[in-house]
Subunit: 415 residues, 2 copies
């Protein structure tokens, strides 16, 4: 395990130690010229836009625009070189003069969406989540849909609604059918939910008509972020047959400001449950991309769930292989998410749908209140750590959002 330079005063167990090094796009009050690419180093952000100008001028153009877009597109050669460079600068005492003035405390930085989201796809890769949904919505029937163990089910979401952690989330209005009613009502969603997910950020594009095999996952996917796929269950329920979720999901999707590169997850790789299944060749992994990542979900500061990502049936390499097997291309900035992460235990469920069993079992909070669904002013935070070198944990940061009340006036067609 590489040691951080002493002047950094970086505790060995810090989640943003040298084994993590996630990237962000940020600015600070003292900056002129807008956003820069940053790297988390403990409780500070290193200004990589300036550092690369000084220490790696051949790659500095990748960071000049201040978002991750150019770096993502540059491919795995650049990803490795830059990470190796960072590790060197931060462990070599002699690099101190070149970077010491480029550190900003995280608390003084303003972080934005780190990359431009191209297509957004959401999968449904947790067997526990899919089976819970089946038990809730189709009681008495087989919990999993017939296709579930043959392919990673997914659908396209709205990339224009992806927002960075900290962005307030307005409770959506829409149509839903109250129990027993014939016609739908219109109003604020009464069943607002979160979904704790892991997101995969595509760097290097592929080409239309050319499937990407699972074995090439790490050539195309740059890294991971945390995702909260906010869901309005009542709106979703009324609209979803026959074409799937639409407005019940499209009002907001929150991502963490940090993108942790795959290189940081080498020690977290595990065999996913799908490795034991009888799969078509295109879904068969030769090296496994299950991930030992522990999620934590907090509602107003209290932990309400600890979903274990290692239980996810389908790996992100299988998701990529499936997403492209029909010839669809991936582009720089494509984001695909795992779907809700739920473990087998009741306190490992990654949504209120499951935690409250569709609004039938109250989820208690330490302040004496309880929740079936999210209330206005509730703050929901997803955080996670992954297994790192030497048995330690490295951080993925967090994705948080607070619920704003709905705008109650029904939008008129007649204004």
């Amino acid at each position: 395990m590489i040691q951080a330079a002493r002047w950094l005063r970086l505790p060995a167990e810090h989640p943003f130690g040298l084994a993590a090094l996630p990237y962000c796009s940020y600015t600070a009050a003292t900056y002129t010229g807008g956003y820069r690419v940053g790297v988390a180093v403990g409780d500070h952000i290193l200004d990589l836009t300036t550092a690369s100008d000084r220490l790696m001028p051949a790659r500095a153009h990748l960071f000049r625009a201040g978002s991750l877009d150019d770096f993502l597109a540059a491919g795995d050669g650049a990803w490795t070189q830059v990470r190796d460079g960072l590790t060197g600068w931060l462990s070599d005492e002699q690099c101190r003069p070149a970077i010491e003035d480029l550190m900003v405390p995280v608390g003084q930085a303003s972080l934005r969406l780190p990359f431009t989201v191209a297509d957004f796809v959401d999968f449904f890769a947790s067997e526990n989540h899919a089976a819970n949904a089946g038990r809730i919505f189709r009681p008495g029937a087989e919990p999993l849909p017939p296709n579930w163990k043959h392919l990673p089910i997914g659908y396209h979401g709205r990339s224009g609604s992806v927002v960075v952690s900290g962005t307030p989330v307005r409770r959506p209005c829409g149509q839903f059918r109250p129990p027993g009613a014939d016609a739908p009502s219109f109003g604020p969603s009464a069943r607002l939910d979160f979904e704790a997910e892991l997101g995969f950020v595509v760097g290097a594009r592929s080409h239309l008509g050319e499937p990407v095999p699972a074995s090439r996952f790490a050539e195309h996917v740059f890294g991971v972020c945390l995702v909260n796929d906010w869901s309005a269950r009542d709106i979703q329920s009324f609209e979803t047959v026959p074409l799937g979720p639409f407005l019940g999901k499209s009002f907001a999707t929150t991502v963490s400001p940090w993108v942790l590169p795959l290189a940081a997850l080498e020690h977290a790789r595990v065999r996913p449950p799908s490795a034991a299944a009888d799969l078509l060749p295109y879904l068969t992994e030769t090296t496994h991309w299950g991930l030992d990542i522990d999620f934590e979900v907090r509602l107003n500061g209290s932990v309400i769930s600890r979903p274990p990502y290692a239980t996810m049936f389908w790996s992100p390499a299988q998701m990529l292989a499936h997403l492209t097997v029909n010839g669809a291309a991936v582009r720089t900035g494509d984001l695909y998410a795992s779907g809700t992460v739920s473990g087998p235990e009741p306190d490992q469920r990654g949504s209120l749908l499951e935690l409250s069993w569709n609004g039938t079992e109250a989820v208690p909070l330490p302040d004496g209140t309880s929740r079936f669904w999210l209330q206005d002013a509730d703050e929901l935070t997803i955080s996670a750590t992954a297994r790192g070198p030497g048995g330690g944990r490295i951080g993925l940061g967090s994705a948080t959002g607070r619920i704003l009340p709905a705008v109650r006036e029904s939008p008129a067609g007649k204004d």
Copy 2:
């Protein structure tokens, strides 16, 4: 009706006369410096990038990048000014010297995707199509889903797979379940289909959390294009429950190279069938945006269907109001399509699913062959005209694609 300048020798009934003036992004062999924005004038393209430099310098920056993106974002003031300018230049004999050297025959131009597609949404707005799909897939049940007359059903598609007319379409591979089989097979789709649709191109963005009322449709939507939402019915069928279409649609979506501005459709506006329905206020139109547009679908040159857009139940203004009622924002370059356009008559159906009644009734072709589904090397072309001034028809151009055979090797996970 404004007369074209005599030197243009533009027949009054030409579909690309002065009442149309659709925009494109194109280049020509004689050009240096890449793509330009063009306008169809009869059988020629006017180089608007250069013409605006000469005749409307205050707006010329909108066309310099050679795609429609900057022009779309500029909003309806710019849209009106540029269209008025074009109409003036092309009807005024004195403008001849300023633009005569800027005309390129369409046949000598290479047209690309005219704008950068942000989010792609596909609706399901034809009652005839939705009812046909219901009769085919749920025989004996109510043809329309319970939500169908309450809201325009839609879902998100893959914007990265949108290609311009003329791009070959590779037959996709995927999983599907042969009749009677327990497990799915993998291979080339045997039920490849088209869907004839109209697409709506968003110009001016809205803001997250702020619904766009139907009455503001023309402030946000710039114009229309033709869309072929290619569909692999066997892949779609196996994957679609519970989250909707995914790989059955995401391999390719073809659009026409021309974007016809809404201003050209003033004479085509009609009352849509939904005007007679009991709708929630946000879906109530005060001015109607049904459209008298006649589609024509040709397979290898022979007309196989003539879908009438005027029969579409939901208008594009209603679709926009619904798309944003939950607070989702629209962005410049968003494309939302109508869904398959099918009229009440058998020869007005906008897909082979309906024309062959899910592969049970052969569709005869003049060469003596027939089709249930698309074969390799088949060429499918969608074209359309709209009612214009003085009872004439104006053109929307066409969207065409030829089927390439599948790449038969199963992509290995082990290469």
